[in-house]
Amino acid sequence: METMQIELPEQLYKAVNALVKNGWFRDENEVLCEAVRKFIESFRPSLIEDFILNDVEWGLHGDE
């Protein structure tokens, strides 16, 4: 596991703390990991589309 130091705006920091205090997550670390995972998942369809269109361009005009 790698360590990352981040700065959060106060409101966001409070929201993360509240999720932990209310028992939704074990700690702040777990909240942030889940948030990043959700972010990636939500972008997956548009990522796939970009990758495929990029593939077509590479297929036609790529110089390897």
């Binding site: 990636i40 593939d55 077509v56 297929g59 036609l60």
Partner: protein, 172 residues
């Protein structure tokens, strides 16, 4: 431009399986060597028993005995990559001048962040026009049967758009 015949490719399971399903696996014979990590080799063999025995493709099974690089391991965890994808990226780290082929969006995203040249099944098929292995008509026909003949999922509207663009470009 490097000579494609001297280029090495590193393959994740998806492109080998999908190209084999579409009966165009031979397009990989355009590479000097196609490296397949042992975990991916196992996965492909499980789904397409004969694919890796193709007589014209220089497949080489690579056994990875070192643990993945720290950054790669961290990104793999964050992006929930499976063991085959992690091995594929580890192998790419050892062969930075190679092309990497995967159809997994997360693996591809990580690969791009790590600076690899990465493409997927669609790219390999369309590339066949540029390399003179297939006509544009043949490529359009292959793309059209993806939903019926292959386990590669592409949003129907996107696939239609690609086919329409190719038809316009090549006046088909």
């Amino acid at each position: 431009m490097s000579n494609p015949k001297r280029l090495k490719a590193i393959c994740d399971a998806g492109p080998i399986i999908h190209l084999d399903e579409l009966k165009v696996l031979h397009l990989l014979s355009d590479f000097h060597e196609v490296l397949v990590p042992d975990r991916v080799w196992f996965e492909v063999t499980r789904h397409r028993r004969e694919a890796l025995n193709h007589p014209d493709i220089p497949f080489r099974k690579v056994i990875l005995d070192k643990p993945p690089d720290g950054l790669l391991l961290a990104m793999s965890k964050a992006f929930s990559l499976d063991s085959g994808e992690i091995q594929t990226l580890s192998l790419a780290l050892q062969h930075r001048d190679s092309l990497l082929f995967t159809d997994d969006a997360a693996a591809r995203f990580v690969a791009e962040q790590m600076g690899f040249k990465v493409h997927g099944t669609i790219g390999i098929i369309v590339r066949a026009i540029r390399r003179g292995y297939l006509s544009a008509r043949e490529v359009v026909d292959i793309l059209s049967i993806i939903p019926q003949q292959s386990s590669l999922y592409i949003k129907p509207a996107l696939l239609d758009r690609i086919i329409r663009d190719l038809k316009e470009r090549f006046e088909l």
